[in-house]
Amino acid sequence: MAEQRKISFIGAPDTNPEVKPYWDACNESRLTLRKCGGCGKVHYYPRGICPFCFSTDGNWINASGKGKIYSFSVMERASPPFTMAYVTLEEGVTMMTNIIDTDFSKIKIGQDVKVVFLDSDTGQKVPMFTPV
């Protein structure tokens, strides 16, 4: 198990109503997504307007928190090393994240992962993924 790097958060969800519900849910250890009431599609990162049909009739849904690694890279040059990844969620969207709490040398594309929430430097919890 590798040492966890410091997580720096940027931005102020409290003054950003478009995405505040997402970050508030993270603080309750829930991963949420935006689902469009117009075209029915789920998108990521969350927006107040659907990037597929421009409908503003969107809703927050709870994600299962399960997904598969789409791609990854172990940043060996960093100290401590960490693993950058894209994870494709069961709901169909792919999100940038880190893979944590595992032997980085054994990570594979296609591997099943589940969400976990880590504290960042501002206290805001951030979703990351670990192998199932």
């Binding site: 958060f9 940027i10 931005g11 998108h43 990521y44 990854f72 894209y86």
Partner: protein, 389 residues
């Protein structure tokens, strides 16, 4: 309206410096401008259009037009990272075709080496208003780990190997040995590349471009002006541009915007990839080159690894001589934006002014392509096709 033949590249200059702690960024821009004007046989007073991108200090064209004391009637500051300068050539051609200017000056300069920017290994904090920032910055996306994820996925989908990627660096280094200004002039082997320290899997140190100070400038002019000058005629015959991003979460790292910009440029020019005698391909990393070669149509999707191996990109050896100045991998990546040097070396090839050891015989058709921003998140693509008349 087609832009084919509506503009010529009459001046091109690459600043010889690779480390400039004693010069300002504005000064480097101006020295590049002076170099391109001297190359073309034009003067500062002939310039009536000015084009720059995000590397220009201050308020872009306002600061630089004032610093150089230009009297222009058209400016453009489209910023799409390293691909900006290829796109600006097209925008200059548009402006010339529309009668908005006759002599368009494009400049780039920067000092990331002197300023000690850890370009590839540290996440860059941006403006919190950037809509993706909160959803990416906490994960520490860097230039290199985002391109590395493209390489990882390419290897997974198509069986591409580190050794195949290494051939791209081998070709660049083979060319760089003849460039006295290149930062890295030692010829390297596939083994050297794959045995160099891992930066971010699967990219090694020698899969990455250099960090250099410097700059470059181009002069794009209307046909009548180009024909009155004493330089070989380099005509812009194909233009294409495209942004690509994460598509609302439908991320696909297997292709770049070159798929669209390349097709637009080839269609406008009325030529095909196999007609190209030379190609400048953006080489921030080896994987950047491989993906662009596929997306531009030089190789089938997934076959880029086979295409680049065994020296196929080496001038005098392979079918597609590329980056004969040594490219960003060995020569120069000024301001962390390699787009302008891609156009400059293509112009040298078309004029017959590349180093004799790497000059492509009878080089009458060349392509230059750039990727700007990050291939792993959102990037700009710009393609130019040029013909020697």
């Amino acid at each position: 309206m087609s832009l084919k033949g509506k503009a010529y590249i009459a001046g091109a200059f690459e600043h010889p410096t690779r480390k400039a702690p004693d010069k300002s960024v504005a000064q480097l821009h101006a020295e590049c401008a002076a170099g391109a004007l001297a190359d073309a046989g034009l003067t500062k007073d002939d310039v009536d259009g000015y084009f720059c991108a995000g590397d220009a200090p201050g308020m872009g064209p306002l600061s630089m037009v004032d610093y150089m004391n230009l009297k222009v009637r058209h400016v453009d500051a489209t910023d799409v990272g390293g691909s900006s300068y290829l796109m600006l050539v097209s925008h200059a051609a548009e402006a010339i075709a529309a009668g908005r200017c006759n002599v368009a000056l494009i400049t780039l300069a920067g000092r990331p080496r002197s300023e000690g920017q850890a370009t590839g290994t540290a996440a860059r904090a941006g403006n919190p208003a950037q809509p993706d920032m909160m959803f990416e910055y906490p994960y520490s996306p860097t230039v290199v780990n985002m391109y590395a994820m493209c390489a990882q996925r390419h290897m997974y989908e198509f069986g591409t190997t580190s050794e195949q990627l290494a051939w791209i660096k081998v070709a660049a280094s083979t060319h760089a040995q003849y460039n006295p200004h290149a930062m890295l002039r030692d010829v390297v082997t596939v083994e050297d590349v794959v045995n160099s320290p891992m930066v971010s899997t699967p990219l090694h140190r020698l899969d990455c471009c250099v960090i250099s100070d410097g700059g470059g400038a181009l002069l794009v002019v209307k046909p009548e002006i180009a024909k009155a000058l004493k330089r070989p005629l380099v005509k812009v015959i194909g233009n294409g541009e495209s942004p690509k991003g994460q598509m609302g979460g439908m991320v696909d790292l297997t292709y770049s915007g070159a798929r669209y910009s390349g097709k637009m440029a080839f269609d406008e020019a009325g030529v095909k990839p196999t007609d190209m005698k030379y190609a400048s391909i953006y080489d921030s990393f080896t994987i950047t080159v491989l993906m662009q070669l596929e997306d531009l149509g030089f190789a089938e999707k997934g076959q880029g690894g086979k295409f680049v191996q065994d020296g196929n990109l080496i001038s005098g050896v392979g079918k597609l001589p590329f980056n004969t100045d040594g490219g960003g991998l060995c020569n120069n990546h000024p301001a962390n934006r390699g787009g302008i040097t891609k156009v400059i070396e293509a112009v040298r090839q078309l004029r017959g002014e590349a180093h004799p050891k790497v000059q492509v015989p009878n080089c009458n058709l060349a392509l230059a392509h750039g990727t700007g921003g990050s291939l792993g998140t959102r990037h700009g693509s710009a393609t130019l096709i040029m013909e020697r008349e």
